[in-house]
């Protein structure tokens, strides 16, 4: 005898809870999608529209891109951001991974929890507030580390924020503000490495260095790539640090140091919103391309 199974029948018999659950899931996702469209997709599309039109709304092709690229501040700003990204990403990867590995090794000791908390605190300060903290740190007259600045040969705020020092200063500020959160994330990822893998490595005679280099770091690869993608996108948009430093130094640090500042200047100083949009679109394209490169090269979406 053959038993026939109606697929329709099985659907009908699906437990009620599941359908309620999927409706709730859809509702949550829908809310996010609506917000994403309203505050992410529509403004981006609006910026793209602006980038290819003039103030009267007429199509200008690449005109705005050419105008902004020909501005005398564009190439220096591009250079500043590139140098900053290089310093920031290298220091982020090396120090965050290094510190997370150290913390993980100290896990059995109580200090790890305290340290994780301490590392995280600066990240809890809002971006602008952290920069303000740094403005005090960098002014030898009021800084709690003025003796250290003195040893380095700096006696005044003007000497500390000399243009040549800015990439290092911005890297320091960004690291101090953003790295703590990543240390906690990478630490969490380290905890996810199965203990039998670690034990096998130990039995095979791997020391701490070899375990880190040959077992832990390769298994953290995706997390590191994720961190680099987000840090790249954030770093390319460098704005708050130079803008506040520029205000605090009454212009010495330059109000058009980064591409984002230049975009802001185009919009609100030179009354050229379309040029500003062109720079924003360029930043978007650069960040998306970099993300695509990292994702494809690292096999980010490959299933384990």
């Amino acid at each position: 005898m053959t038993v026939t199974h109606s697929p329709a029948g099985s659907t009908r018999r699906r437990p009620r809870g599941v359908s309620r659950q999927s409706r709730a899931g859809a509702a949550f996702v829908a809310a996010y999608v609506v917000l994403l469209i309203a505050f992410g997709v529509v403004p981006t599309a609006y910026a793209v529209w602006f980038a290819f039109t003039d103030a009267q709304g007429a199509f200008t092709g690449l005109g705005n891109f050419v105008t902004t690229a020909q501005d005398f501040r564009f190439v220096p700003a591009l250079g500043h951001v590139a140098l900053y990204l290089l310093l920031w990403l290298v220091s982020l990867v090396v120090l965050v991974v290094g510190l997370a590995l150290l913390l993980h090794r100290m896990a059995s000791q109580g200090a790890s929890k305290t340290l994780r908390f301490l590392f995280y605190i600066p990240g809890a300060l809002a971006g602008a507030a952290s920069v303000l903290v740094w403005l005090f740190m960098l002014d030898p007259t009021v800084s709690p580390v003025s003796s250290l600045l003195g040893v380095l040969g700096y006696g005044t705020f003007g000497e500390v924020i000399a243009p040549a020092n800015l990439p290092v200063l911005f890297t320091g500020i960004a690291f101090w503000t953003g790295a703590g959160g990543w240390i906690v994330v990478i630490y969490g990822a380290l905890n996810n490495i199965p203990s039998d893998v670690m034990e096998a490595a130990r039995i095979d005679g791997a020391g701490p260095w070899q375990t880190a280099w040959r077992v832990q770091i390769p298994m953290l690869r995706k997390w590191i790539v994720y961190m680099v993608i987000l840090a790249f996108a954030g770093g390319a948009q460098l704005f708050v640090e130079p803008q506040l430093l520029s205000l605090a130094s009454v212009g010495v640090a330059g109000r058009d140091y980064s591409l984002n500042q230049l975009s802001y200047d185009f919009a609100f100083q030179m009354n050229n919103i379309n040029g500003a949009a062109a720079i924003s679109v360029e930043l978007l394209v650069i960040s998306l391309s970099a993300a695509a490169l990292f994702v494809t090269r690292s096999g980010f979406f490959d299933a384990d």
Partner: protein, 454 residues
């Protein structure tokens, strides 16, 4: 055989059409909403030289910085029946561009402009006219009898193509501030020429190390020194044209003088508002060329210099010249929005705040631009007992501002700060930095759409 489309296919077709229709509706909706936001869409009347928005009852809005808050509050107290909304903002201090940023946004949304706004920057009219924000004042809004009361040249920074677009709050002519008891004690004579000033600076460096005859560390240093030397770095020759020459003899003579005194350390490069100056140098000021507002805002306010010490003398002049020239170091402006729906109330406030002695004469921290109020102000200052002598030289200085230095759309202060100041910090001479300064001004001017002659 039937070739008719199966019904099921047609069924699929309809939802697709429906979604296309829906998308079109959403797009139209967004576009309508955007275009509706773009313009006010209401009828305007042309009067007083511009298209005025329909007038309404209700409160007018005034934006002031913290210093001018007292003015707005006093007006409210004196006119309790006037509905006004006072908003404090940074007054565009340090060239923050807050007002400009907001106006760009209000222009896009078609609403939100303040009716009257104070700005501490002199170059607001140059962009605000382009941005279609400010109302012309000398076409009927403010009577000529009021406008003629302002000091000669006071409202030049507010005039674009012959039309007046703002009223000056205070003048910022520079004078030579000095510590009278100290000068007397050390037996120094007040320098009347820049040559004597330099000699005195060198003498102070040798005899009283640590004491200062000036400061060259602020972003407005070129306004204090190079403008006073008639250096043609910033001659705005038309609405969109500028002449720039920073390496003429007039520029180098002052740059050389400053280089000598900076090297001898009797001229600081810290900046009078820096923490370094406040902590280490504020009580070491023997002389300090600077604007009218230095007396109240800097010596009395920031440095807390005790009474009966600070006095004012005329700016030195170069040997062979007949009278001193001074620069113009700030001085705020009041602007009126052409979008205002409360023009009468807003104009009344604007006129009061710039001319009435109750504020300008008695309370203003700076030298009023309105001449009758300035008389009252000087009387009050001299009677206050703070200064070591009569500071009426400020009145003479108000007519000595060299007219060939203008307020363009690009910020001279920002250019000096970003180009020359870092070099000075590294120990480079100002003379050696003059070509770089020129190059930077030219680039910024061109970038802002100016035709540049060099």
């Amino acid at each position: 055989m039937a070739t008719r489309k199966p019904f099921t296919d047609r069924g699929k077709l309809f939802p697709r059409r429906r979604s296309a229709l829906l998308a079109a509706c959403v797009a139209t909706g967004i576009l309508t909403a955007v275009s509706a936001c773009g313009g006010s869409g209401t009828a305007t009347t042309t009067k007083d030289g511009f298209a005025q928005a329909p007038q309404k009852d209700g409160a007018f809005t005034v934006w002031v910085d913290s210093t001018r808050l007292a003015a707005a509050k006093l007006y409210q107290k004196q006119h309790p029946d006037v509905e006004m909304k006072i908003v404090t903002y940074d007054g565009n201090a340090n060239g923050s561009n807050y007002l400009q940023t907001k106006v760009q946004l209000f222009n896009r949304t078609g609403k939100g402009w303040p009716d009257v706004v104070f700005s501490s920057q002199n170059n607001e009219a140059t962009w605000a006219v382009d941005a279609d924000f400010v109302a012309p004042l000398n076409k009927g809004l403010v009577p000529e009898s009021t406008l003629s009361g302002f000091a000669k040249g006071a409202n030049d920074v507010c005039t674009v193509d012959g039309t007046l677009y703002c009223l000056r709050n205070d003048l910022s002519q520079a004078v030579l501030w000095y510590n009278a008891p100290l000068m007397k004690k050390w037996g120094y004579k007040l320098p009347t020429t820049w040559e004597e000033y330099q000699k005195l600076g060198e003498k102070v460096a040798a005899r009283h190390p640590g004491y200062l005859v000036g400061d060259a560390g602020d972003s407005y240093t070129p306004e204090v020194y190079l403008w006073a030397s008639k250096c043609g770095a910033n001659d705005i020759t038309g609405p969109k044209s500028v002449s720039v020459n920073t390496t003429s003899a007039n520029c180098t003579r002052m740059a050389e003088l400053m280089d000598v005194l900076i090297k001898k350390k009797s001229m600081s490069i810290s900046g009078v508002f820096s923490t370094d100056f406040g902590k280490n140098k504020a009580d070491k000021v023997l002389m300090m060329p600077g604007p009218a507002w230095y007396g109240g805002a800097l010596f009395k306010g920031t440095f807390k210099t005790p009474a009966k010490q600070i006095a004012a003398a005329p700016m030195p002049q170069w040997s062979g010249e007949t009278s001193p020239s001074t620069g113009n170091v700030g001085g705020g402006t009041w602007l009126l929005s052409k979008h205002s729906e409360h023009l009468k109330a807003a104009t009344d406030f604007l006129t009061w705040v710039t001319t009435d002695s109750a504020y300008q004469g008695d309370m203003s921290p700076g030298f009023p631009a309105y001449a009758p109020a300035a008389e009252t102000w000087l009387r009050q200052q001299n009677a206050s007992g703070y200064y070591a002598g009569d500071i009426s030289v400020l009145k003479d200085a108000s007519t000595q501002v060299w007219p060939q230095w203008g307020s363009g759309q690009f910020s001279q202060e920002a250019i000096w700060a970003a180009t020359v100041k870092p070099g000075m910090t590294q120990g480079k001479t100002i003379v050696s930095l003059l070509p770089a300064w020129q190059d930077s001004i030219v680039k910024y001017a061109k970038s802002n759409g100016y035709k540049v002659s060099q």
